[in-house]
Symmetry: C2
Subunit: 108 residues, 2 copies
DNA sequence: TTTAGGTATCTTGCATTGCAAGATAGTGAA
DNA sequence: TTCACTATCTTGCAATGCAAGATACCTAAA
């Protein structure tokens, strides 16, 4: 999978997932990887970025099957940014898909 | 518009357009900008990249309304790369849109 | 006890690419 | 001659995904 396509989209996907419920990093990696492959080296720096930008807050929670998990939770600002990002993605992907369709089915 | 979203996608759009007919750089900028904003500083280095990778060839053609135009034409390899890129984009954008939908209309 | 594998977090530095900013130059009209 | 439009090109910065590796907890098998 083209790594360039993911630029910026990964951030939006993480925020979309967090808008539904709190999650921890390792969980996010595996959930997103069901759709398209990503690695831990992408997620943790991204989560740190969201934290310093004030879009998420964190809390630790113990686990029965391994080390403690650091959960991430969207802040009010995070929700707003999430919604804007989703809107931008929808506009963008519609524009791109429209262009592709015109350029590949332009015979008719 | 989120500049990160365009990474890699701009290349695919250019190749999609060139797959339909030959175009020159300035023309590509304006055609793509009808869908989403891009600048000349993005197109010309990209076209040079496609040239060195052997995906396009070029030829000059005079114009009645300004300096000569450098037209870009997809090579055989370029067509193949174009089709693969479009397929990858379709898979990727479907995956992302599916995730977004599930995370925003997950009440039901 | 030791080993192995799954779970979980984190850091460093590289590669890629869009873009702002600016340079250059042809054409035609005011 | 001045302006606007057309057209190409270069430089260097900013952003971000990821490979690679380190650390550490827990459980179960050997």
């Amino acid at each position: 999978m083209n790594a360039q396509f993911k630029k910026g989209v990964l951030e939006m996907c993480v925020m979309a997932l967090l808008g539904f419920r709190d999650r921890y990093g390792y969980e996010l990696v595996h959930e997103i990887s069901e759709r398209f492959e990503i690695s831990e080296g992408s997620i943790y720096p991204l989560l740190r970025r969201l934290l310093t930008e004030g879009y998420v807050s964190t809390y630790l929670q113990e686990s029965v099957e391994g080390p403690a998990r650091k959960y991430y939770s969207l802040t009010e600002n995070g929700f707003q940014a999430r919604n804007e990002l989703i809107k931008e993605w929808n506009d963008f992907s519609n524009a791109v898909c429209g262009l592709i369709e015109e350029m590949t089915h332009a015979e008719r």
